[in-house]
Structures are given as structure tokens and as C-alpha cells.
Amino acid sequence: MKHSQQLLAIAGLALAVWGMSYGFYYAVWIEHQTLDHIGGSLAAAFQHAALRETAASHAGLADYARAKYVYTREVDAHSHWIGLAMVLMLLAALWNRLSFGETTRGLLAGALIAGAYGFPLGVLLQNHLGGGIGQGIAVGGSILLIIAFLAVAAGFARESAN
């Protein structure tokens, strides 16, 4: 078993454990309160509208949109971390079939790991650092993942041809 293969397997399972731990923490301490907040602010917006309090209604809707934006990214980070962890673990098992030398394999493993950890982190950071920075990290991570995955597919295709 090569160094890059082991690295990919350990990084994948570690990412799965991290993603699950984050999901556990989120479910226990944050999710229910967040869902109550989303529902409550939307209901309040319509109740204010019924009382013809337009400004308060708009404030309620803005509150709802912000809470939903944050919630979507928190859940997306959790699901993408675990999904990508599984892709890393699967690729680790297939790594011997890749028609590249160990140096290229190491670079590809590094790119996949950076993308798998970084892309969901960027999604989550959109809630804390502002949309631009987080979005930039997420886009960078996803581009890294897609390029690395294309290279891996090419490596498998070359192995099959050989």
C-alpha cells in the first residue's frame, strides 16, 4: 500500500468522523432552535402584514431569509463533508488501479483532500466571513475537486486501456 493511498484512506475516514461529529453537535445544540427561528420569523412577518405593519413584516422576512441562508449552509457543509469523505475512501480502495507514478498520485491525493475538506468549509464560512470569502474558498475547493476527479478518471481509463 502506497503512502498516498493510506493518506487518502485515513483522511477520508477522519473527514467522515469529523462530519458526523459536526452533525451530532449541530443536531443537539443548534438545529431545533434554528428551525424554530425560521418558522417563527416567517409567521411573524405574515402576522405583522395582517396588522398592516409593513416595516415589521419586511424585517421579519429579512430575518427569515437570513436564518434560512445560514441553515442551508450548515446542513450543506455536514452532508458534503460526509459525502466527500466517502468518495475519498472509495478512491483510496481504487488507488492501485491508477495509471500514474507515486508523485502524481501524491499530488492528486493532496488536491482531493484539500478540496474535500476545503469546499464544505468554504460553504460554512459564508455564514461567518461574509459571502465573498467563503464563496471563494468553496468555489476554489470545488474546482480542485472536479479537476482532480477528472484526472483520476483519466488515470483509471489509462489503466483499463493498458
Binding site: 500500500m1 468522523v17 402576522q47 402584514a49 395582517a50 431569509a65 475537486l145 476527479f149
Partner: protein
């Protein structure tokens, strides 16, 4: 039963259970639930028009209940499938995990238990609610689900320690039939799975870049139009024309969002299961012809379901029916493979144990 076969059987069973739950949910609950949400939103808009603030609040409470009904079932479906994947992946990586067979069996049982109990707990959240709960916003079903999640985290952390120990030992792992198999069915499943995952990545990137932010803005804008129009627009009727148009557009927006997310997640999930099924071909104790048939059926269903889901907005129930057929094909293929795994005599377990005992001595 060896730890590895427990992981394969438990993983496949969890995936099958999750897929069947998803199909039942899509056919019997998804659409009626979406209709009820739409009706409650119309009623809330009408309540705004008639200055009935309390009724508007009650309608949103009802919407919250419908969304919880939908969300918990989607979560149960997704988590059951996710734990199934994890169990199967750990079975694939098993030769690289340096733990005793009994410790591996305990961890495997812990993961499967967590993988069964968590979705059952999540499913029950909508029905149990906060009855007898000691906490303000978390009911007993959630507490059980969270505890099961913790079991799964502990199991995966244990397997991670095993992987780490193998890394530190620096010894090559035992030769493994699952990683060496080059059968036709295995190769087709792996190639097809890789392509499906790549397609899912590209679709997700396109969705995030082109649709996600626009849809989030549109969501808020349409809700504001409903509330403002119902409160301020002159004229007769319980739902003014502008509010009615916003209600219709909101329904379309939610449906568009749902089908794109579902297509993205399903195409990647099916790619993963195809890749994993490719590994497990040596465990599938069936004739070569049947192994090939089930491989093709699995890939066919894996393409049909997400494509048909994407076409649901254009072709409605016809596309929904085709998507369900795709789901049934996936279930049939996996059931066929699971039957083969159950018929398997355990020779790979035995050889793995022997090799592991040698490697760990």
C-alpha cells in the same frame, strides 16, 4: 459471521431500507404534503387580507408541521443510505484496518445499530413531538436519534484508530480478493459509478453557480409580495391577483429547488453504490450472467431516476412515474446482489481471517 460480512450485509440492508423508504415517501407522502403546504400558504395569505393575524400564525404553525413531516422522512431516508455506504466502505477498507476480529465485530455492530436506530428516531420525531421530554425544544425521538449518531461516531473513530495503527506499522496489508477483482460486472459498475459521480459533481457546481443564490433571493421576494399584496392591494377577493401569482411562482420555485437537489444527491449516491457494488462482486454468489444483468439494471436505474426527477417539472406525474421505475430497478438490482451475498459461503471471510491472523501475529 465475520466483521467484514456483517459490514457488507448491514450496509446493503441499510441502503435497501433507505431506498425503499425513499420510494414509499416519494409515491405516498411527498406530493400530498406539498399540496397541503400550498393550501396552508393560501390560507395564511387570505388571513393577512382579512386582518386575522392569529389565523395567519396558525397556518404557519401547520406549515411547520408539514415541513417537519417532510424533513424528517427525507433525513431518515438520507441517513439510512449514508450509514449503509459507510458500512460498505469500511468493509472495502477492512484489510487496512489493524484491529482484532472481535474488536472489529463490536465496532461493526455498533455502526449498524447506530445506522438503524438514528433513522428510526428521526422518522419518529414528527409523531412523538415533545411528549414527556425533559428539554424545551428536543423530544425523546431526537434524543434517541442523537445517541445513535454518537454510537456511529464512536464506531467510525474506532475504525480510524485501526487505519492509523496500520499506517504506523508500515507493513503491507494482506492481499484481498475485493480489491483485486477484475470481473466484467465489477469493471462496468466501477466505470459507470465514476461517471455518475462526475456528472453529479458537475450538476451540483452548475446548480450552485447558476441557481442557488437566485432562488434564495426569489424565495424572500415572493413571500414579501404575498404578504404586501394581501395587506395593501385594493380590490375584492381573499387573494389579490398579485398575491395569487406570487403563490403560484413560489410553488414552482420550491418544486424546481427540490428536483434539482434530489437529482444532484441521487446521481452521486447511485454512483457511490455502483462503485461499491463493483467491489463486492466476489461476495455475490451468482452465475456470471446474473451478475452482469444486475450490474446493467443497477446502472440503468441510476441514470433513469435522477434524469426523470429533473424532468418532473416539465412532464409532471409521467416523469415522476418513470423516476419511481428507476428507483424500483435500483432496488431490484441490489436485492438480487444481496441475495448473492447471502448465498455466499463465507470463504472470503475465512481467507481474510487467516491472512489477518498471519499479518497481526
Amino acid at each position: 459471521m465475520g466483521a467484514r460480512r456483517l459490514l457488507v450485509l448491514g450496509g446493503l440492508a441499510l441502503f435497501l431500507g433507505g431506498t425503499i423508504l425513499g420510494n414509499v415517501f416519494a409515491v405516498f407522502i411527498l406530493h400530498p404534503n406539498a399540496d397541503r403546504i400550498g393550501q396552508a400558504l393560501v390560507a395564511a395569505t387570505a388571513a393577512v387580507r382579512q386582518h386575522r393575524a392569529e389565523d395567519a400564525g396558525q397556518n404557519f404553525a401547520a406549515i411547520g408541521g408539514f415541513l417537519e413531516n417532510r424533513g424528517t422522512k427525507v433525513d431518515a431516508h438520507a441517513h439510512m443510505i449514508g450509514f449503509g455506504y459507510l458500512a460498505m466502505l469500511l468493509a472495502i477498507l477492512f484489510p487496512w484496518i489493524r484491529l482484532s476480529e472481535s474488536a472489529s465485530r463490536w465496532l461493526a455492530a455498533l455502526l449498524i445499530t447506530g445506522g438503524v436506530v438514528l433513522p428510526v428516531g428521526v422518522f419518529a420525531i414528527h409523531y412523538v413531538g415533545l411528549a414527556y421530554s425533559p428539554l424545551e425544544s428536543i423530544g425523546w425521538a431526537s434524543i434517541v436519534a442523537d445517541a445513535a449518531g454518537l454510537l456511529a461516531v464512536i464506531a467510525c473513530a474506532g475504525f480510524l484508530v485501526g487505519l492509523w495503527r496500520q499506517w504506523r506499522a508500515g507493513e503491507p496489508p494482506a492481499a484481498d480478493a475485493l480489491l483485486l477483482d477484475r470481473s466484467w460486472a465489477g469493471r462496468v459498475l466501477m466505470a459507470g459509478g465514476t461517471l455518475l459521480i462526475l456528472a453529479g459533481f458537475l450538476h451540483g457546481a452548475w446548480y450552485a453557480g447558476m441557481d442557488l443564490y437566485a432562488q434564495e433571493q426569489q424565495d424572500q421576494k415572493l413571500l414579501a409580495t404575498m404578504a404586501d399584496s394581501a395587506a395593501l392591494d385594493p380590490g375584492p377577493g381573499l387573494v389579490p391577483e398579485r398575491a395569487g401569482a406570487a403563490l403560484n411562482a413560489y410553488g414552482t420555485l420550491q418544486a424546481d429547488h427540490a428536483v434539482k437537489i434530489a437529482a444532484h444527491s441521487h446521481i452521486i449516491e447511485f454512483g457511490l453504490i455502483a462503485l461499491m457494488a463493483g467491489f463486492f462482486q466476489p461476495f455475490v454468489f451468482l452465475g456470471e450472467a446474473w451478475k452482469r444483468r444486475w450490474a446493467v439494471v443497477l446502472l440503468l436505474g441510476s441514470v433513469i431516476l435522477p434524469v426523470a426527477v429533473l424532468l418532473e417539472l416539465r412532464f409532471g406525474l409521467v416523469a415522476g412515474g418513470v423516476a419511481d421505475v428507476g428507483g424500483v430497478l435500483v432496488i431490484a438490482a441490489l436485492t438480487g446482489m444481496l441475495t448473492g451475498v447471502l448465498r455466499f459461503t463465507g470463504c472470503l471471510d475465512a481467507s481474510a481471517d487467516t491472512l489477518a491472523a498471519g499479518g497481526r501475529a
